[in-house]
Amino acid sequence: MKKLGLLLVILSGALLLYATVDFPLWGDPSSPASLHVSPRYIEKTMEETSVPNIVTAVLADYRGFDTMFETTVIFGAGVVCFLLLRVLGGEEGDHYYRHLPTGVTIHVKGAKGKSLSGEFERIDMLWTPYDLVIKTACRIMIPFIQIYALYVIAHGHHSPGGGFQGGVILGASVILLAISQNLRTALRRIGEKTVGILCAIGVFIYAGTGALCLALGRNFLDYAALASVLGTDPVTARSHGILIVETGVGIAVMATMIWIYNNVSSAGRYDEGL
């Protein structure tokens, strides 16, 4: 198997190398890729969409249809992880609780149906140490991370950034909460149902904007149709349309990241993660 694998790899590598002979030189400004389609994006973006960040303009407008499906891919991955892993039904097994005033940890066997409350706090089986420094440090960081994420989404027109990047950062902030405290705390902030519905809503904002354009008489995802709704000229409407769909992307990506993390880290039981 190893020899056969090596042979296959060398053969396909040789085939790929063979083709590089006829590639244009690296960084050549007169290569076909730089001359055929892309110059129009660079030269016309400002007058056609009023977005200085060309990548954002191409991503969400010229090839916005790709991006809609890209968001759908993420949404689909979230649904697949849920479908595969989520264990619905009561949780069983042993639990650890900490008595808050004294810091004593107790071990409850067969805790199904029972739960201690009041002065007791449930803790993860594999994560018994109580670390004030980590909790506090993360608590301070999380709001700043979230504000930065919103900046990345909102400023995607002018600087590197946009819905995907901002959404991932937003999702990371919630995942950080889940890691520094525990999964149950994160779930109390943003529950399973909320995540699942937000995920669908995010992508729906994208596809719905496209469908709105269609309903207003232009082609699907032709944001210029939004001009009459937004009360602007068609070019600015494109810029605003991009912002709307980027927001949708941000929501969808954030929710899906959290959803996948919740399912994968707790193997679908939603009680104890990592």
Binding site: P32, F75, V79, V80, L221
Partner: protein, 497 residues
């Protein structure tokens, strides 16, 4: 509104996926009606597009209002219009047949299942309708990802089989993406028609040749062409029946469509058949695929695995036919996409009915089944006859065109392989008839009473769609010549004689 049908075709199932997902959390009763409604809208759009293409010729839709090389365009022509209709019909019929099993099997997760089901159909429709090479990759990933989810919910070994499918499928999709990158680096374009316009000046370029080869290898992985088929039998066997009956008829066939699309529209027949001169080699690969698929099918002891290996052989038919390089072979290959999808659906729906009653699909559970489930087995046998290629079922006609193509090309190996596989199919299906008719019903299973078994048919919600498909096999067979003269002959460029 009729102007927007190409968009509506993909958008209706896509939007409904989000609603179904939401309904899965809030009120599960709405999931099925939403799925049916959206697939119905897609089906109507596909039908009216088909009609418009037949009446007025190809349709182009510019998404986002941008002109093709810069924006993404949808192009409906004589080649993909029938495939679109086919996808919608298969998806709807299977949904009708399997909704009862889905609700029993998935319970709280019904919403997630239907979401993925609809997403998978979205992906397949998008792959078929798109005129942009990169857009095709994105949609391919949607179809594959939702397919992984649908397959992995099956029996005990399903996750392992699916993980193997994920590995192979990812390599396949990445190879396709890489091939598109190689085309992009030498042409600077991603639009299929635009690439085809630029390519003639670059036929000597090594990157174009490599692009063709890696695209083909990627697609062959995805369509389970013989040495690359190892993921398919386990994945389809262990998948839950409702998913298998959607994925098995459509996924491989749509991949064959993509291959033909690349050959005819992107690389153009002149390059693929004349400049390269690799058709003979590919047809010989197809011969091996057919023979090996048939032999492996002979060795199986359960229905689903047997059908899976038959699919491997059928993929060989289509690849071989497409690469024969003449009109008859190409017609046969395209016709076989439609026919094979219907035949596979027919067989899998019959398997669904059998598993619904017997809770098993091994050969031993088929004993006495023709008396017990006569309608199911009748449809199954009709599907089998079509796979064997008995007139007037549709399987006969596509095989006829393939054999004619092989004769015209002087490729007797391919002809022999087709005849051999037909012979093996005869053995396969007559063995099942023998088990079902002559062997007595399993004693341990029944109540020990002798004499004829009481009839215990599958519910009508499975039987009706099953018989629609089974009769569809005959109807498509009878109308083959109309399909070819009005649609398929325009799909094949005049350059192919």
């Amino acid at each position: 509104m009729s102007h927007h049908f190409p968009a509506l075709l993909v958008i209706a199932p896509l939007l409904s996926a989000f609603f179904i997902s939401g309904a899965g959390w809030l009120n599960r009763r709405f999931c099925l009606p939403l799925a049916v409604a959206s697939l119905g809208v897609a089906g109507l759009s596909a039908l009216s597009l088909f009609w418009r293409v037949v009446q007025q010729g190809p349709v182009l839709y510019r998404l986002g209002g941008w002109d093709p090389p810069w924006g993404i365009a949808y192009a409906v022509d004589f080649l993909n219009a029938p495939v679109l209709v086919l996808i919608c019909i298969v998806a709807l019929l299977n949904l009708w047949a399997s909704h009862r099993q889905v609700e029993e099997q998935f319970k709280e997760k019904t919403g997630a299942f239907y979401t993925l089901y609809v997403l998978m159909v979205t992906g397949l429709l998008g792959i078929t309708v798109t005129g942009d090479a990169f857009n095709l990759y994105v949609l391919l990933e949607i179809a594959s990802l939702s397919g992984y989810g649908l397959i992995a919910m099956g029996e005990d070994r399903a996750p392992l089989a699916t993980l193997n499918y994920v590995y192979m499928g990812t390599i396949g999709a990445c190879f396709y993406l890489l091939g598109i990158g190689y085309l992009y680096i030498v042409t600077g374009s991603l639009n299929m028609a635009d690439i085809a316009r630029i390519l003639p000046g670059l036929y000597e370029n090594k990157a174009v040749l490599t692009a063709l080869i890696i695209c083909l290898v990627g697609l062959w992985l995805k369509m389970a062409f013989f040495p690359l088929h190892v993921w398919l039998p386990n994945a389809y066997t262990f998948a839950p029946v409702p998913s298998a009956a959607l994925i098995a008829p459509l996924m491989t066939k749509v991949m064959v469509y993509v291959m033909i699309r690349l050959m005819l529209t992107v690389f153009t027949p002149g390059y693929v058949f004349s400049t390269l001169g690799i058709n003979d080699a590919v047809v010989w690969f197809a011969v091996i695929a057919i023979v090996m698929g048939a032999i492996l099918a002979l060795g199986q002891r359960d229905l689903k695995k047997m059908i899976s290996y038959i699919i491997v052989a059928e993929v060989g038919y289509m690849v071989g036919g497409a690469w024969l390089g003449n009109r008859a072979g190409m017609t046969g290959a395209i016709l076989h996409i439609i026919n094979d999808a219907l035949m596979t659906l027919c067989l899998f729906l019959a398997v669904a009915a059998i598993t619904y009653r017997m809770k098993s699909y091994t050969f031993s559970s088929l004993k006495g089944l023709i008396r017990k489930m006569p309608f199911t087995m009748g449809a199954f046998i009709l599907g089998g006859l079509s796979i064997i290629g008995v007139p007037p079922t549709c399987g006969f006609f596509s095989k006829w065109y393939l054999i004619t193509g092989a004769l015209q090309a002087g490729h007797y190996g391919f002809m022999a392989a087709l005849l051999f596989s037909s012979l093996v199919n005869v053995v396969l299906f007559f063995r099942i008839i023998e088990i079902g008719f002559f062997e007595p019903f399993n004693e341990g299973h029944g109540h020990g009473e002798h004499g004829p078994e009481p009839m215990n048919e599958a519910p009508l919600s499975i039987l009706v769609p099953l018989w629609i498909v089974a009769l569809g096999l005959v109807v498509v067979g009878v109308y083959t010549s109309e399909i070819i003269t009005h649609v398929l002959q325009f799909a094949i460029p005049k350059a192919i004689l």
